[in-house]
Assembly symmetry: C2
Homo-oligomer: 190 residues x 2
């Protein structure tokens, strides 16, 4: 157990996603765990917190989510750049050792039968809100956030602290191919 | 006309949104133009390019989109921090001079009966794909991107060049209240 992992008030869970980071999506069904990267994940509502994520029909993670009805959205760090790119480029269908090869280590959170990825800055446990038309026509999945946690070295008191943290904690923002940007300077509007 | 505004290949339009910036949403109906800020906007498909955006029922921009069936998603810059925060915090319903007060200047693009915001780094002209259930239940709107443009001082050859551009061109990533982050360093995975 990472002693820095602290629960986040569900009313502030949207803040974990609001700045548009690329995420890791993980799921479990009948003993199979998988993790994929997704740039197309977005907050959808404040209370109860909801989010959307686009999951291609070719992905194994989508199958696990459709069967189990739950998933985790977690926010990888700049230190996890290679891991994030690798789980985004390889499928468990072709590479059964995908997670080990990418260096993914999973952990459990009591009360949630889900695989959480170690080393991330934040984790959102979600229950699928079934919307078959969206899923089939647009590959668009809606989740209700039922648990949220963050590492207090970079998110605490309901706010990100990228500006005070080691740059290795920066969120990743994917553009295309292996090209990403890290999150940058804090700006305050009047 | 800004001579740096160049058309973006629709196949690469998703790259304008992929890194998760906060956007400005604009729309026009029967002589009324409006602009609002939205952090909850996300790419949905590559070809034809589609996107999602969450529009609260209280917003005037949503009404204009529901009536006209079209809208613009544009990407504001760090230089537009105050403008972005202002159009996100005030409604045209209460402040008829909202756009002037926030310093918003609009321009036209031939062939598109839409208000585009000057000074942004990129613009996506969208046609609403009507999905009444999503709109009513989740405030979730889907648009098909029918035209895309970017300022070649920060996006050219299908790629963002934040690392070479003046920091004033950085995209904005909203967290909460007046708190934003600018996009940061480029990172390349192997």
């Amino acid at each position: 157990m990472n002693p820095h992992q602290k629960q986040v008030d569900l009313a502030k869970a949207y803040r974990l996603l609001n700045h548009g980071p690329t995420v890791l999506v993980s799921a479990r069904h009948e003993g199979v765990d998988n993790v994929m990267a997704a740039a197309w994940c977005c907050a959808l509502d404040f209370s109860p917190p909801k989010l959307t994520v686009v999951l291609d029909k070719a992905t194994r993670t989508r199958e696990l989510i459709e069967r189990s009805g739950r998933f985790v959205i977690q926010i990888p760090t700049a230190a996890q750049l290679q891991l994030t790119n690798q789980v985004g480029n390889h499928s468990l269908k072709d590479a059964p050792d995908k997670l080990a090869k990418a260096g993914v280590e999973l952990f459990n959170i009591p009360g949630h039968d889900l695989p959480f990825v170690q080393g991330c800055s934040a984790w959102l446990a979600c229950e699928l809100i079934a919307e078959p038309h969206n899923q089939q026509a647009y590959d668009l999945f809606i989740g209700e956030v039922v648990g949220a946690w963050a590492d207090d070295r970079v998110f605490r008191d309901g706010h990100w602290h990228f500006e005070d943290a080691d740059p290795a904690w920066c969120s990743l923002h994917h553009v295309a191919g292996g090209h990403f940007y890290a999150i940058g300077d804090a700006l305050k509007a009047e």
